[in-house]
Subunit: 297 residues, 2 copies
Amino acid sequence: MPDLSHYGEEAVVARLTTLLEAGPGILTGPGDDCAVVEGGARGEAELLKTDCLVCNVHFLPEDAPGKVGWKAIARTLSDFAAMGGWPRHLLVTLAVPPSCEMRWAEQLYRGMNKCARAYDCSIVGGETSSVPAGAPVMISVAGTGTARRSQVILRSGGRPGDLLFVTGRLGGSLRGSHLTFTPRLLEANWLVRNFTLHAMMDLSDGLARDLPRLAAASGCGVLLEKDSLPRSRGVTIEQALCDGEDYELLFAVSARTAKRLVPEWRGQFPDLPLSLIGSLTADQQPGLSGGWDHFGG
Amino acid sequence: MPDLSHYGEEAVVARLTTLLEAGPGILTGPGDDCAVVEGGARGEAELLKTDCLVCNVHFLPEDAPGKVGWKAIARTLSDFAAMGGWPRHLLVTLAVPPSCEMRWAEQLYRGMNKCARAYDCSIVGGETSSVPAGAPVMISVAGTGTARRSQVILRSGGRPGDLLFVTGRLGGSLRGSHLTFTPRLLEANWLVRNFTLHAMMDLSDGLARDLPRLAAASGCGVLLEKDSLPRSRGVTIEQALCDGEDYELLFAVSARTAKRLVPEWRGQFPDLPLSLIGSLTADQQPGLSGGWDHFGG
């Protein structure tokens, strides 16, 4: 049987998750931005998420450790935003070679704590482990959160004719924003409280990979208006599609909802663009190409 | 500032966790087997835990992947046992080089699922990430669980005069049991339902390291009767103290509780030894030496 690079990330995840048996209390299992399980107060669901950063994959040895810490937490928080929820408690696993400097680790933790506190959640524990000398630093963050059950937004609820929106600007994240981005918790929570969203996710691997995921989960095709993509300064359409690590929201709403949403968004978040980038269609069509594949398949 | 190997694991964890700010809803933060937070049904608390395995640290490339998967889950479950709780939902992060074989990953997942189902909990999601070629496989498992608030057992509740017990036999785990051990969930839950335990933890780094942690958390010293240590076949006292990865329970109870507990244990778990190994004292004394230090300080 070949190695994982032969399959590509999508197929690896699909094969492995089919080996897991569902159990009681699971409302949404593997495949969305967070798992959704029963729990919490009446009318609420618990959200569960884990995410990791690997040195030389998600950050570089020379990156400021405080920013790496911010990113480690913000990536996870972005997934809670994508579900329409809010994070609550976080656990951090730090796997480092013994040569890791204490100052680096401390600044990493300061950055993590800063991001957690900025969004009113707490790091409540974790683990440190050694890795063999020469192995990369790895930071794994797991979190719990909550959402109103009626406001949990999955990737799979999109419908043909829905309009597709993205927040912010896409592309060029490697110039720095991949370490300092704002998880769109405030925006997502405002959206789910005030509008009926059909589907939502955060953009971590690039629109070219992530949009087909949302469309496939919804059983729809996509009509993408590439010229409408909100681009970071100096970035080509191709880069906006494929760079990845934007951590902006992608969501689908009915045309009727969109009509009310767009002007209200402008009033609520005047400094953050909201762009109509296309629509979901009834005919499934081949996915867009590009974006980030963890196993290079 | 020196690197982490200069400090040793205990000091690393202590320094890093002081950088974290406490938030609302946290009943027990970093430093115990699980974090304890508000949540769940009335009278219950939510337990949170994360734990990781690194290739060439916690398992070897030639180990059977199904057993590695069992261990990855069982280690985390053992921490829920140590709190007097029960696991509920688990998240798995698998970080592997692209050369990892699909068969290996599948057998790993089968082993993880087998262990989760054996203890009535579920893997509800996770993440796969690539690591650079040559870097070790890393498996991080995060979990949520529940416990009766009145039955959560911390490391810190021990009192001078308490008697110390361990389950099972210690030492020699590298001969195989470190991959196939039984997390003591049934035993711990029986204990907390039927007896007043003052302190409990699971033995992951060896009694020589773990017992002083429990004693220190309880503000006590230790009188250890080394000749009373329950040893695996062919194992020296030194090995029973220092090998680590026993994943047995260590707990402290009053002498009065012990008198009732010991005969009832024999009736309930006739095949699993329960051994009195010493007591907590009022005078703090120097820790035992040996055991496993992740940063070799």
